[in-house]
Protein backbone atom coordinates (compact mmCIF):
# COMPACT_ATOMS: atom_id res chain seq x y z
CA UNK A 1 0.00 0.00 0.00
CA UNK A 2 1.31 3.46 -0.86
CA UNK A 3 2.30 5.47 2.13
CA UNK A 4 0.43 8.74 2.35
CA UNK A 5 2.46 11.82 3.00
CA UNK A 6 0.62 14.70 4.62
CA UNK A 7 3.09 17.19 3.16
CA UNK A 8 2.53 15.89 -0.35
CA UNK A 9 -1.23 15.73 0.12
CA UNK A 10 -1.24 19.35 1.16
CA UNK A 11 0.94 20.32 -1.81
CA UNK A 12 -1.22 18.33 -4.23
CA UNK A 13 -4.37 19.92 -2.87
CA UNK A 14 -2.88 23.38 -3.14
CA UNK A 15 -1.74 22.69 -6.69
CA UNK A 16 -5.19 21.48 -7.60
CA UNK A 17 -6.76 24.61 -6.11
CA UNK A 18 -4.35 26.88 -8.00
CA UNK A 19 -5.11 25.04 -11.20
CA UNK A 20 -8.84 25.37 -10.63
CA UNK A 21 -8.48 29.06 -9.94
CA UNK A 22 -6.40 29.79 -13.01
CA UNK A 23 -8.07 27.50 -15.53
CA UNK A 24 -11.19 28.91 -17.03
CA UNK A 25 -13.38 26.03 -18.00
CA UNK A 26 -16.61 25.96 -19.93
CA UNK A 27 -18.97 28.53 -18.53
CA UNK A 28 -22.72 28.01 -18.83
CA UNK A 29 -24.17 30.88 -20.81
CA UNK A 30 -27.53 32.04 -22.03
CA UNK A 31 -28.70 34.96 -24.09
CA UNK A 32 -31.30 37.64 -23.54
CA UNK A 33 -34.12 37.22 -26.05
CA UNK A 34 -36.42 40.03 -24.88
CA UNK A 35 -36.20 42.77 -22.31
CA UNK A 36 -38.56 45.44 -21.02
CA UNK A 37 -40.33 46.82 -17.95
CA UNK A 38 -37.59 45.51 -15.68
CA UNK A 39 -37.92 41.92 -16.88
CA UNK A 40 -35.46 40.06 -19.10
CA UNK A 41 -36.30 36.77 -20.84
CA UNK A 42 -33.32 34.51 -21.15
CA UNK A 43 -32.77 31.55 -23.44
CA UNK A 44 -30.49 28.77 -22.24
CA UNK A 45 -29.19 28.32 -18.66
CA UNK A 46 -31.37 25.28 -18.16
CA UNK A 47 -29.69 24.52 -14.84
CA UNK A 48 -30.60 27.89 -13.30
CA UNK A 49 -32.21 27.65 -9.87
CA UNK A 50 -35.23 29.56 -8.57
CA UNK A 51 -34.20 32.97 -7.27
CA UNK A 52 -30.64 32.44 -8.50
CA UNK A 53 -28.69 35.53 -9.45
CA UNK A 54 -27.86 36.01 -13.12
CA UNK A 55 -25.27 38.39 -14.51
CA UNK A 56 -26.17 40.09 -17.75
CA UNK A 57 -23.37 41.73 -19.68
CA UNK A 58 -23.96 45.16 -21.10
CA UNK A 59 -21.89 48.00 -22.51
CA UNK A 60 -22.29 49.96 -19.30
CA UNK A 61 -21.18 47.04 -17.13
CA UNK A 62 -22.78 43.96 -15.66
CA UNK A 63 -26.43 44.09 -14.62
CA UNK A 64 -27.71 41.59 -12.07
CA UNK A 65 -31.08 39.90 -12.20
CA UNK A 66 -32.75 37.04 -10.38
CA UNK A 67 -34.59 34.17 -11.98
CA UNK A 68 -38.24 33.98 -10.98
CA UNK A 69 -39.86 32.16 -13.90
CA UNK A 70 -38.27 28.89 -14.86
CA UNK A 71 -40.21 27.91 -17.96
CA UNK A 72 -39.59 25.04 -20.34
CA UNK A 73 -38.18 27.27 -23.07
CA UNK A 74 -36.96 30.35 -21.26
CA UNK A 75 -36.24 32.03 -17.96
CA UNK A 76 -38.01 35.15 -16.76
CA UNK A 77 -35.57 37.21 -14.72
CA UNK A 78 -36.28 40.40 -12.83
CA UNK A 79 -33.55 43.01 -13.25
CA UNK A 80 -31.96 44.65 -10.25
CA UNK A 81 -30.61 47.49 -12.37
CA UNK A 82 -31.91 49.60 -15.19
CA UNK A 83 -33.38 47.74 -18.16
CA UNK A 84 -32.22 50.44 -20.56
CA UNK A 85 -28.69 49.06 -20.29
CA UNK A 86 -29.69 45.50 -21.20
CA UNK A 87 -30.06 44.60 -24.86
CA UNK A 88 -31.48 41.55 -26.59
CA UNK A 89 -28.67 39.15 -27.45
CA UNK A 90 -26.68 40.05 -24.33
CA UNK A 91 -24.66 37.25 -22.74
CA UNK A 92 -26.03 35.92 -19.45
CA UNK A 93 -24.16 33.82 -16.89
CA UNK A 94 -25.16 32.22 -13.62
CA UNK A 95 -23.65 33.61 -10.46
CA UNK A 96 -24.16 30.32 -8.63
CA UNK A 97 -25.83 31.87 -5.59
CA UNK A 98 -29.12 33.31 -4.44
CA UNK A 99 -29.39 36.92 -3.39
CA UNK A 100 -27.60 37.93 -0.22
CA UNK A 101 -27.06 41.19 1.62
CA UNK A 102 -24.41 42.38 4.08
CA UNK A 103 -25.47 41.81 7.69
CA UNK A 104 -23.97 42.73 11.02
CA UNK A 105 -23.54 45.54 13.52
CA UNK A 106 -21.65 47.58 10.90
CA UNK A 107 -25.04 48.43 9.40
CA UNK A 108 -26.31 50.16 12.54
CA UNK A 109 -26.93 53.85 12.01
CA UNK A 110 -26.92 53.46 8.23
CA UNK A 111 -29.46 53.98 5.47
CA UNK A 112 -29.08 51.31 2.81
CA UNK A 113 -30.91 50.03 -0.26
CA UNK A 114 -32.25 46.45 -0.42
CA UNK A 115 -28.90 45.23 -1.73
CA UNK A 116 -27.06 46.72 1.24
CA UNK A 117 -25.51 49.61 -0.67
CA UNK A 118 -25.27 52.82 1.36
CA UNK A 119 -27.69 55.62 0.51
CA UNK A 120 -26.63 58.03 3.22
CA UNK A 121 -23.47 59.22 1.53
CA UNK A 122 -21.40 57.52 4.20
CA UNK A 123 -18.42 55.23 3.86
CA UNK A 124 -18.79 51.89 2.05
CA UNK A 125 -20.20 49.20 4.32
CA UNK A 126 -17.80 46.35 5.04
CA UNK A 127 -19.41 43.56 7.00
CA UNK A 128 -17.91 40.26 8.02
CA UNK A 129 -21.03 38.31 7.09
CA UNK A 130 -23.69 38.17 4.45
CA UNK A 131 -27.25 36.99 4.99
CA UNK A 132 -29.45 35.19 2.47
CA UNK A 133 -32.40 37.35 1.44
CA UNK A 134 -34.85 34.46 1.01
CA UNK A 135 -34.40 32.19 3.98
CA UNK A 136 -36.62 29.53 5.45
CA UNK A 137 -38.26 30.42 8.76
CA UNK A 138 -37.09 28.72 11.92
CA UNK A 139 -38.86 25.45 12.80
CA UNK A 140 -41.14 24.62 15.71
CA UNK A 141 -38.45 23.20 17.98
CA UNK A 142 -36.27 26.26 17.54
CA UNK A 143 -38.96 28.51 18.95
CA UNK A 144 -40.22 29.55 22.33
CA UNK A 145 -43.53 31.14 23.24
CA UNK A 146 -43.56 34.91 23.39
CA UNK A 147 -43.06 36.01 27.00
CA UNK A 148 -40.94 39.16 27.15
CA UNK A 149 -42.57 42.55 26.62
CA UNK A 150 -41.65 44.87 23.80
CA UNK A 151 -42.75 48.19 25.20
CA UNK A 152 -44.00 50.66 22.61
CA UNK A 153 -44.20 53.49 25.13
CA UNK A 154 -47.75 54.16 23.94
CA UNK A 155 -50.09 53.72 26.90
CA UNK A 156 -53.09 52.48 24.97
CA UNK A 157 -51.03 49.79 23.25
CA UNK A 158 -48.95 48.65 26.22
CA UNK A 159 -52.03 48.53 28.46
CA UNK A 160 -54.67 47.12 26.12
CA UNK A 161 -52.81 45.37 23.28
CA UNK A 162 -49.38 44.47 24.65
CA UNK A 163 -46.74 43.31 22.21
CA UNK A 164 -44.21 40.64 23.09
CA UNK A 165 -40.75 40.06 21.67
CA UNK A 166 -41.10 37.73 18.71
CA UNK A 167 -44.71 38.71 18.03
CA UNK A 168 -46.09 39.98 14.70
CA UNK A 169 -48.50 42.84 15.37
CA UNK A 170 -50.12 44.51 12.39
CA UNK A 171 -50.65 48.27 12.32
CA UNK A 172 -53.58 48.89 10.01
CA UNK A 173 -55.57 51.95 9.05
CA UNK A 174 -56.39 54.47 6.35
CA UNK A 175 -53.85 56.98 5.11
CA UNK A 176 -52.94 59.77 7.52
CA UNK A 177 -54.16 58.03 10.66
CA UNK A 178 -50.80 57.77 12.42
CA UNK A 179 -49.59 54.28 11.47
CA UNK A 180 -45.96 55.25 10.91
CA UNK A 181 -46.10 57.47 14.01
CA UNK A 182 -46.78 54.40 16.18
CA UNK A 183 -43.86 52.58 14.60
CA UNK A 184 -41.52 55.55 15.08
CA UNK A 185 -42.58 56.02 18.71
CA UNK A 186 -41.88 52.34 19.33
CA UNK A 187 -38.39 52.74 17.86
CA UNK A 188 -37.77 55.86 19.98
CA UNK A 189 -38.96 54.05 23.09
CA UNK A 190 -36.34 51.33 22.59
CA UNK A 191 -33.63 53.97 22.93
CA UNK A 192 -35.35 55.92 25.72
CA UNK A 193 -35.90 52.83 27.84
CA UNK A 194 -32.48 51.45 26.88
CA UNK A 195 -33.98 48.09 25.95
CA UNK A 196 -31.12 47.28 23.58
CA UNK A 197 -33.60 46.27 20.87
CA UNK A 198 -32.25 46.97 17.39
CA UNK A 199 -34.69 48.66 15.00
CA UNK A 200 -34.85 47.79 11.33
CA UNK A 201 -37.15 50.13 9.44
CA UNK A 202 -38.02 48.98 5.93
CA UNK A 203 -39.47 51.72 3.75
CA UNK A 204 -41.25 50.18 0.76
CA UNK A 205 -41.79 52.80 -1.93
CA UNK A 206 -41.99 55.62 0.61
CA UNK A 207 -41.37 59.21 -0.43
CA UNK A 208 -37.68 59.95 -0.03
CA UNK A 209 -38.50 63.23 1.73
CA UNK A 210 -40.42 61.23 4.36
CA UNK A 211 -37.45 58.90 4.86
CA UNK A 212 -35.10 61.89 5.18
CA UNK A 213 -37.39 63.45 7.81
CA UNK A 214 -37.52 60.14 9.67
CA UNK A 215 -33.73 59.82 9.70
CA UNK A 216 -33.37 63.37 11.02
CA UNK A 217 -35.92 62.69 13.76
CA UNK A 218 -34.29 59.42 14.78
CA UNK A 219 -30.91 61.16 14.95
CA UNK A 220 -32.45 63.93 17.05
CA UNK A 221 -33.91 61.37 19.46
CA UNK A 222 -30.65 59.43 19.63
CA UNK A 223 -32.19 56.27 18.15
CA UNK A 224 -30.27 56.11 14.90
CA UNK A 225 -27.30 54.37 16.51
CA UNK A 226 -29.43 51.28 17.06
CA UNK A 227 -31.37 51.53 13.81
CA UNK A 228 -30.93 50.27 10.26
CA UNK A 229 -33.06 51.84 7.54
CA UNK A 230 -33.67 49.91 4.34
CA UNK A 231 -35.03 52.50 1.97
CA UNK A 232 -36.77 52.27 -1.37
CA UNK A 233 -38.50 55.17 -3.06
CA UNK A 234 -41.44 55.35 -5.44
CA UNK A 235 -39.08 55.67 -8.42
CA UNK A 236 -37.19 52.48 -7.59
CA UNK A 237 -37.85 49.37 -9.66
CA UNK A 238 -40.53 46.93 -8.51
CA UNK A 239 -37.82 44.32 -7.94
CA UNK A 240 -36.14 46.48 -5.29
CA UNK A 241 -39.47 47.19 -3.60
CA UNK A 242 -40.18 43.46 -3.60
CA UNK A 243 -36.78 42.64 -2.11
CA UNK A 244 -36.72 45.35 0.58
CA UNK A 245 -38.67 43.51 3.34
CA UNK A 246 -36.74 40.28 2.80
CA UNK A 247 -33.39 42.10 2.80
CA UNK A 248 -34.36 44.00 5.97
CA UNK A 249 -35.40 40.75 7.63
CA UNK A 250 -32.04 39.17 6.76
CA UNK A 251 -30.37 42.11 8.50
CA UNK A 252 -32.65 41.73 11.54
CA UNK A 253 -32.12 37.97 11.67
CA UNK A 254 -28.42 38.52 12.29
CA UNK A 255 -29.26 40.07 15.68
CA UNK A 256 -31.95 37.46 16.43
CA UNK A 257 -29.54 34.61 15.72
CA UNK A 258 -26.86 36.15 17.91
CA UNK A 259 -29.04 36.19 21.02
CA UNK A 260 -30.10 39.81 20.62
CA UNK A 261 -33.51 41.38 20.04
CA UNK A 262 -34.58 43.20 16.90
CA UNK A 263 -37.71 45.00 15.82
CA UNK A 264 -38.76 44.96 12.16
CA UNK A 265 -41.04 47.65 10.77
CA UNK A 266 -42.39 47.06 7.28
CA UNK A 267 -43.80 50.34 5.98
CA UNK A 268 -45.87 49.22 4.20
CA UNK A 269 -46.84 45.77 2.94
CA UNK A 270 -49.66 47.12 0.77
CA UNK A 271 -47.08 48.76 -1.48
CA UNK A 272 -45.02 45.56 -1.29
CA UNK A 273 -47.96 43.51 -2.58
CA UNK A 274 -48.54 46.05 -5.36
CA UNK A 275 -44.87 45.82 -6.41
CA UNK A 276 -45.13 42.03 -6.46
CA UNK A 277 -48.33 42.23 -8.50
CA UNK A 278 -46.51 44.40 -11.04
CA UNK A 279 -43.64 41.91 -11.26
CA UNK A 280 -45.97 38.93 -11.53
CA UNK A 281 -48.06 40.47 -14.28
CA UNK A 282 -44.92 41.38 -16.24
CA UNK A 283 -43.73 37.80 -15.79
CA UNK A 284 -47.06 36.71 -17.29
CA UNK A 285 -48.22 34.87 -14.23
CA UNK A 286 -51.99 34.47 -14.16
CA UNK A 287 -53.76 37.20 -12.17
CA UNK A 288 -56.23 36.33 -9.42
CA UNK A 289 -58.37 38.43 -7.10
CA UNK A 290 -57.70 42.17 -7.53
CA UNK A 291 -55.13 41.08 -10.18
CA UNK A 292 -52.78 39.85 -7.43
CA UNK A 293 -51.02 36.58 -8.22
CA UNK A 294 -52.09 33.37 -6.51
CA UNK A 295 -49.11 33.31 -4.16
CA UNK A 296 -49.59 36.76 -2.65
CA UNK A 297 -50.52 35.17 0.70
CA UNK A 298 -47.30 33.16 0.66
CA UNK A 299 -45.42 36.38 -0.19
CA UNK A 300 -46.30 37.81 3.23
CA UNK A 301 -46.61 34.62 5.28
CA UNK A 302 -43.07 33.48 4.47
CA UNK A 303 -41.80 36.95 5.33
CA UNK A 304 -43.58 37.30 8.67
CA UNK A 305 -42.91 33.72 9.72
CA UNK A 306 -39.24 34.67 10.01
CA UNK A 307 -40.12 36.84 13.01
CA UNK A 308 -39.86 34.60 16.06
CA UNK A 309 -38.76 34.20 19.63
CA UNK A 310 -35.94 31.67 19.60
CA UNK A 311 -35.52 28.88 22.11
CA UNK A 312 -32.85 29.05 24.80
CA UNK A 313 -30.76 26.51 22.86
CA UNK A 314 -30.60 28.90 19.94
CA UNK A 315 -29.64 31.87 22.09
CA UNK A 316 -33.14 33.15 23.03
CA UNK A 317 -32.94 36.05 20.57
CA UNK A 318 -36.07 37.50 19.03
CA UNK A 319 -37.34 39.25 15.94
CA UNK A 320 -40.55 41.22 16.43
CA UNK A 321 -42.47 42.47 13.41
CA UNK A 322 -44.70 45.50 13.06
CA UNK A 323 -46.01 45.29 9.51
CA UNK A 324 -48.09 48.22 8.31
CA UNK A 325 -51.07 47.95 5.98
CA UNK A 326 -52.94 50.87 4.46
CA UNK A 327 -56.67 50.41 4.02
CA UNK A 328 -59.06 52.24 1.72
CA UNK A 329 -61.98 53.91 3.53
CA UNK A 330 -61.48 51.70 6.57
CA UNK A 331 -62.15 48.49 4.65
CA UNK A 332 -60.28 45.81 6.54
CA UNK A 333 -62.03 43.06 4.59
CA UNK A 334 -60.08 43.78 1.39
CA UNK A 335 -57.74 41.12 0.03
CA UNK A 336 -54.33 42.14 1.39
CA UNK A 337 -55.60 43.38 4.80
CA UNK A 338 -57.44 40.09 5.50
CA UNK A 339 -54.38 38.12 4.41
CA UNK A 340 -52.03 39.94 6.74
CA UNK A 341 -54.57 40.01 9.60
CA UNK A 342 -54.74 36.23 9.41
CA UNK A 343 -50.96 35.88 9.33
CA UNK A 344 -50.15 38.19 12.23
CA UNK A 345 -50.67 37.69 15.96
CA UNK A 346 -53.01 40.65 16.29
CA UNK A 347 -53.65 44.09 14.87
CA UNK A 348 -53.82 47.70 15.96
CA UNK A 349 -56.58 49.32 13.96
CA UNK A 350 -56.46 53.08 13.55
CA UNK A 351 -59.67 54.95 12.77
CA UNK A 352 -59.95 58.14 10.77
CA UNK A 353 -62.97 59.33 12.83
CA UNK A 354 -61.07 59.01 16.09
CA UNK A 355 -58.08 60.75 14.56
CA UNK A 356 -60.16 63.79 13.57
CA UNK A 357 -61.91 63.82 16.96
CA UNK A 358 -58.47 64.51 18.37
CA UNK A 359 -58.10 61.04 19.91
CA UNK A 360 -54.50 60.30 18.98
CA UNK A 361 -53.23 57.65 18.68
CA UNK A 362 -56.55 56.86 16.99
CA UNK A 363 -56.65 53.25 18.16
CA UNK A 364 -59.98 51.46 17.85
CA UNK A 365 -60.49 49.52 21.09
CA UNK A 366 -63.09 47.25 19.49
CA UNK A 367 -61.24 46.15 16.36
CA UNK A 368 -57.72 45.95 17.79
CA UNK A 369 -56.40 42.83 19.45
CA UNK A 370 -53.14 41.26 20.59
CA UNK A 371 -53.40 37.48 20.49
CA UNK A 372 -50.20 36.52 22.27
CA UNK A 373 -49.00 39.67 24.01
CA UNK A 374 -50.92 39.06 27.26
CA UNK A 375 -48.26 36.64 28.44
CA UNK A 376 -45.61 39.24 27.72
CA UNK A 377 -47.23 42.21 29.44
CA UNK A 378 -45.32 43.73 32.37
CA UNK A 379 -46.97 42.80 35.65
CA UNK A 380 -47.17 46.41 36.72
CA UNK A 381 -49.17 47.53 33.68
CA UNK A 382 -51.21 44.32 33.70
CA UNK A 383 -52.31 44.98 37.28
CA UNK A 384 -53.96 48.28 36.29
CA UNK A 385 -54.76 47.72 32.63
CA UNK A 386 -56.80 44.54 33.00
CA UNK A 387 -60.25 46.06 32.53
CA UNK A 388 -59.20 49.02 30.47
CA UNK A 389 -60.32 47.66 27.11
CA UNK A 390 -63.69 46.53 28.45
CA UNK A 391 -64.20 49.80 30.31
CA UNK A 392 -63.39 51.85 27.25
CA UNK A 393 -65.70 49.80 25.02
CA UNK A 394 -68.54 50.10 27.59
CA UNK A 395 -67.98 53.83 27.80
CA UNK A 396 -68.19 54.29 24.03
CA UNK A 397 -71.46 52.30 24.01
CA UNK A 398 -72.94 54.25 26.93
CA UNK A 399 -71.74 57.55 25.50
CA UNK A 400 -73.60 56.91 22.26
CA UNK A 401 -76.82 56.10 24.22
CA UNK A 402 -76.34 59.13 26.45
CA UNK A 403 -76.60 61.36 23.40
CA UNK A 404 -80.34 60.59 23.21
CA UNK A 405 -81.27 61.83 26.68
CA UNK A 406 -79.99 63.59 29.74
CA UNK A 407 -81.84 61.58 32.42
CA UNK A 408 -79.11 59.25 33.46
CA UNK A 409 -78.68 57.58 36.82
CA UNK A 410 -75.63 58.42 38.88
CA UNK A 411 -73.88 55.11 38.24
CA UNK A 412 -74.11 55.55 34.46
CA UNK A 413 -73.05 59.18 34.75
CA UNK A 414 -69.98 58.27 36.75
CA UNK A 415 -69.12 55.49 34.28
CA UNK A 416 -69.35 57.95 31.40
CA UNK A 417 -67.24 60.48 33.30
CA UNK A 418 -64.63 57.82 34.04
CA UNK A 419 -64.65 56.86 30.35
CA UNK A 420 -64.15 60.46 29.30
CA UNK A 421 -61.21 60.75 31.66
CA UNK A 422 -59.77 57.49 30.37
CA UNK A 423 -60.11 58.64 26.77
CA UNK A 424 -58.33 61.88 27.62
CA UNK A 425 -55.63 59.98 29.48
CA UNK A 426 -54.93 57.68 26.54
CA UNK A 427 -54.29 60.63 24.25
CA UNK A 428 -50.57 60.87 23.77
CA UNK A 429 -48.44 63.24 21.74
CA UNK A 430 -46.07 61.91 19.11
CA UNK A 431 -42.42 61.31 20.03
CA UNK A 432 -43.30 61.10 23.73
CA UNK A 433 -43.28 57.44 24.64
CA UNK A 434 -43.81 56.66 28.32
CA UNK A 435 -41.99 54.34 30.64
CA UNK A 436 -43.65 51.56 32.65
CA UNK A 437 -43.90 53.61 35.85
CA UNK A 438 -45.47 56.58 34.02
CA UNK A 439 -48.02 54.28 32.43
CA UNK A 440 -48.80 52.61 35.75
CA UNK A 441 -49.35 55.78 37.76
CA UNK A 442 -51.39 57.42 34.98
CA UNK A 443 -53.78 54.50 34.52
CA UNK A 444 -53.98 53.85 38.24
CA UNK A 445 -54.91 57.49 38.93
CA UNK A 446 -57.99 57.21 36.69
CA UNK A 447 -59.09 53.61 37.23
CA UNK A 448 -58.80 53.84 41.03
CA UNK A 449 -61.14 56.84 40.94
CA UNK A 450 -58.63 59.19 42.54
CA UNK A 451 -58.79 61.49 39.53
CA UNK A 452 -62.63 61.51 39.57
CA UNK A 453 -62.48 65.00 41.06
CA UNK A 454 -60.49 66.28 38.10
CA UNK A 455 -62.34 67.74 35.14
CA UNK A 456 -61.82 65.49 32.07
CA UNK A 457 -60.53 68.51 30.14
CA UNK A 458 -57.70 68.88 32.65
CA UNK A 459 -56.76 65.19 32.92
CA UNK A 460 -53.61 65.55 30.82
CA UNK A 461 -52.41 68.45 32.97
CA UNK A 462 -53.09 66.48 36.14
CA UNK A 463 -51.31 63.47 34.69
CA UNK A 464 -48.27 65.62 33.83
CA UNK A 465 -48.21 67.11 37.32
CA UNK A 466 -48.50 63.68 38.95
CA UNK A 467 -45.66 62.23 36.88
CA UNK A 468 -43.46 65.25 37.55
CA UNK A 469 -44.13 65.19 41.30
CA UNK A 470 -43.49 61.47 41.64
CA UNK A 471 -40.25 61.73 39.66
CA UNK A 472 -39.04 64.70 41.71
CA UNK A 473 -39.95 63.31 45.13
CA UNK A 474 -39.73 59.54 44.71
CA UNK A 475 -37.18 58.84 41.98
CA UNK A 476 -35.86 55.63 43.55
CA UNK A 477 -39.33 54.09 43.96
CA UNK A 478 -40.28 55.01 40.39
CA UNK A 479 -37.07 53.49 39.06
CA UNK A 480 -37.98 50.30 40.91
CA UNK A 481 -41.51 50.39 39.49
CA UNK A 482 -40.07 50.91 35.99
CA UNK A 483 -38.58 47.41 36.16
CA UNK A 484 -42.10 46.16 35.52
CA UNK A 485 -42.80 44.07 38.61
CA UNK A 486 -46.16 44.32 40.35
CA UNK A 487 -45.85 47.16 42.87
CA UNK A 488 -46.06 46.42 46.59
CA UNK A 489 -49.00 47.63 48.67
CA UNK A 490 -46.72 50.20 50.32
CA UNK A 491 -45.74 51.64 46.97
CA UNK A 492 -49.36 51.78 45.83
CA UNK A 493 -50.24 53.58 49.07
CA UNK A 494 -47.47 56.10 48.41
CA UNK A 495 -48.64 56.66 44.83
CA UNK A 496 -52.24 57.04 46.07
CA UNK A 497 -51.30 59.71 48.55
CA UNK A 498 -49.33 61.70 45.95
CA UNK A 499 -52.19 61.26 43.45
CA UNK A 500 -54.70 62.61 45.98
CA UNK A 501 -52.51 65.66 46.62
CA UNK A 502 -52.13 66.35 42.91
CA UNK A 503 -55.86 65.77 42.27
CA UNK A 504 -56.74 68.37 44.92
CA UNK A 505 -54.87 70.98 42.94
CA UNK A 506 -57.05 70.23 39.91
CA UNK A 507 -60.44 70.03 41.70
CA UNK A 508 -63.30 71.88 40.00
Amino acid sequence: MTKLSVTELSRDLRDAITQLETTEGLEKVGIVTRVGDGVAWVHGLQNAGYSEVLTIESDAGDVEAFALNLNEDEIGAVLLGSDSEVKAGARVTLKGETLSVPVGPELLGRVVDPLGRPLDGGAPIKTKQRGVVEREAIGVMGRKSVHEPLMTGIVSIDAMFPIGRGQRELIIGDRQTGKTAIAIDTMINQAKQKTGVVNVYVAVGQKLSKIARLVDRLKEEGVMDQTIIVATGPSDSASLLYLAPYAGTAMGEYFRDNGEHALMIYDDLTKHAVAYRQMSLLLRRPPGREAFPGDVFYLHSRLLERSAKLSDDLGAGSLTALPIIETQAGDISAYIPTNVISITDGQIFLETDLFYQGIRPAISAGLSVSRVGGAAQTKAVKSVGGNLKLGLSQFRELASFAQFGSDLDDATKSQIDRGRRLTELLKQSQYQPMGVWEQFVSIHAVTSGLFDVVDPERIKDAQGALVAKLWTDHKAEMRELNKGDKPSDDLIELIDSVTKTVAKGFED
Binding site: E24, E27, K28, H43, E72
Partner: protein
Protein backbone atom coordinates in the same frame (compact mmCIF):
# COMPACT_ATOMS: atom_id res chain seq x y z
CA UNK B 1 -57.12 25.87 -31.51
CA UNK B 2 -54.06 23.72 -31.86
CA UNK B 3 -51.89 23.51 -28.79
CA UNK B 4 -48.54 25.27 -29.12
CA UNK B 5 -45.72 22.74 -28.91
CA UNK B 6 -42.86 23.88 -26.74
CA UNK B 7 -39.58 24.66 -28.42
CA UNK B 8 -37.76 22.13 -26.32
CA UNK B 9 -40.09 19.23 -27.25
CA UNK B 10 -39.90 20.08 -30.93
CA UNK B 11 -36.10 20.34 -30.73
CA UNK B 12 -35.88 16.93 -29.07
CA UNK B 13 -37.91 15.43 -31.89
CA UNK B 14 -35.75 17.09 -34.56
CA UNK B 15 -32.50 16.07 -32.83
CA UNK B 16 -33.47 12.42 -32.52
CA UNK B 17 -34.48 12.26 -36.22
CA UNK B 18 -31.22 13.95 -37.22
CA UNK B 19 -29.29 11.37 -35.24
CA UNK B 20 -31.14 8.68 -37.16
CA UNK B 21 -29.90 10.25 -40.40
CA UNK B 22 -33.25 11.75 -41.39
CA UNK B 23 -32.31 15.24 -42.64
CA UNK B 24 -35.78 15.85 -44.13
CA UNK B 25 -36.84 16.95 -40.67
CA UNK B 26 -35.09 20.31 -41.23
CA UNK B 27 -37.45 21.11 -44.13
CA UNK B 28 -40.40 20.04 -42.02
CA UNK B 29 -39.24 22.25 -39.14
CA UNK B 30 -38.80 25.19 -41.51
CA UNK B 31 -42.35 24.66 -42.81
CA UNK B 32 -43.66 24.49 -39.27
CA UNK B 33 -41.92 27.73 -38.31
CA UNK B 34 -43.31 29.53 -41.35
CA UNK B 35 -46.80 28.21 -40.75
CA UNK B 36 -46.80 29.14 -37.07
CA UNK B 37 -45.07 32.48 -37.73
CA UNK B 38 -42.15 31.62 -35.50
CA UNK B 39 -39.35 32.13 -38.01
CA UNK B 40 -37.79 34.73 -35.70
CA UNK B 41 -37.12 31.93 -33.26
CA UNK B 42 -35.01 29.96 -35.77
CA UNK B 43 -31.76 30.75 -33.95
CA UNK B 44 -33.24 29.63 -30.64
CA UNK B 45 -34.32 26.36 -32.29
CA UNK B 46 -30.77 25.81 -33.48
CA UNK B 47 -29.49 26.33 -29.92
CA UNK B 48 -32.10 23.96 -28.53
CA UNK B 49 -31.43 21.26 -31.12
CA UNK B 50 -27.72 21.51 -30.42
CA UNK B 51 -28.39 21.35 -26.69
CA UNK B 52 -30.41 18.15 -27.20
CA UNK B 53 -27.66 16.68 -29.37
CA UNK B 54 -25.22 17.57 -26.61
CA UNK B 55 -27.18 15.47 -24.13
CA UNK B 56 -27.12 12.62 -26.64
CA UNK B 57 -23.31 12.70 -26.93
CA UNK B 58 -22.85 14.91 -29.99
CA UNK B 59 -21.17 18.25 -29.41
CA UNK B 60 -21.52 20.93 -32.05
CA UNK B 61 -19.23 23.84 -31.27
CA UNK B 62 -18.43 27.20 -32.81
CA UNK B 63 -14.74 27.95 -32.74
CA UNK B 64 -13.89 31.57 -33.39
CA UNK B 65 -10.28 32.71 -33.52
CA UNK B 66 -8.33 35.78 -34.61
CA UNK B 67 -6.56 33.81 -37.34
CA UNK B 68 -6.83 30.33 -38.85
CA UNK B 69 -6.06 27.56 -36.42
CA UNK B 70 -3.56 24.78 -36.99
CA UNK B 71 -4.95 21.24 -37.12
CA UNK B 72 -3.21 20.43 -33.81
CA UNK B 73 -5.05 23.22 -32.06
CA UNK B 74 -8.35 22.06 -33.53
CA UNK B 75 -7.66 18.56 -32.35
CA UNK B 76 -6.82 19.86 -28.90
CA UNK B 77 -10.11 21.80 -28.77
CA UNK B 78 -12.04 18.73 -29.94
CA UNK B 79 -10.39 16.60 -27.31
CA UNK B 80 -11.09 19.22 -24.62
CA UNK B 81 -14.77 19.24 -25.57
CA UNK B 82 -14.94 15.48 -25.74
CA UNK B 83 -13.57 15.26 -22.19
CA UNK B 84 -15.73 18.05 -20.85
CA UNK B 85 -18.98 16.57 -22.14
CA UNK B 86 -17.96 12.89 -22.23
CA UNK B 87 -19.11 13.10 -25.83
CA UNK B 88 -18.95 10.42 -28.51
CA UNK B 89 -18.59 12.87 -31.38
CA UNK B 90 -17.42 16.48 -31.70
CA UNK B 91 -18.20 18.70 -34.68
CA UNK B 92 -16.41 22.04 -34.99
CA UNK B 93 -17.58 25.04 -36.97
CA UNK B 94 -14.62 27.32 -37.42
CA UNK B 95 -14.62 31.01 -38.26
CA UNK B 96 -12.17 33.89 -38.09
CA UNK B 97 -12.87 37.17 -36.32
CA UNK B 98 -9.88 39.56 -36.15
CA UNK B 99 -11.71 41.57 -33.47
CA UNK B 100 -10.77 38.85 -30.98
CA UNK B 101 -7.16 40.13 -31.32
CA UNK B 102 -5.76 36.79 -30.22
CA UNK B 103 -6.73 33.51 -28.61
CA UNK B 104 -9.86 31.49 -29.22
CA UNK B 105 -13.54 31.42 -28.27
CA UNK B 106 -15.38 28.12 -28.20
CA UNK B 107 -19.14 28.13 -27.88
CA UNK B 108 -21.45 25.15 -27.50
CA UNK B 109 -25.22 25.14 -27.16
CA UNK B 110 -25.18 25.77 -23.40
CA UNK B 111 -21.71 26.99 -22.56
CA UNK B 112 -18.82 29.10 -23.65
CA UNK B 113 -15.06 28.97 -23.24
CA UNK B 114 -13.66 32.38 -24.01
CA UNK B 115 -9.89 32.52 -24.02
CA UNK B 116 -9.66 35.44 -26.40
CA UNK B 117 -7.44 38.42 -25.81
CA UNK B 118 -10.39 40.70 -26.34
CA UNK B 119 -12.29 39.09 -23.49
CA UNK B 120 -9.34 39.44 -21.15
CA UNK B 121 -8.92 43.09 -22.05
CA UNK B 122 -12.63 43.71 -21.47
CA UNK B 123 -12.36 42.03 -18.08
CA UNK B 124 -9.41 44.21 -17.17
CA UNK B 125 -11.32 47.28 -18.29
CA UNK B 126 -14.27 46.27 -16.07
CA UNK B 127 -11.93 45.81 -13.14
CA UNK B 128 -10.75 49.40 -13.79
CA UNK B 129 -7.13 48.33 -13.56
Amino acid sequence: MAQRISRRKLSEHVASRLLNGDSSVITQLAAHLVETRRTKEADLYVYDIEATLLNKGVVVADVVSARHLAQETKDAIASFLQDSYSADRVELRQSVDPLLIGGVRVGTADAEYDASLRRRLTKLQKMKV
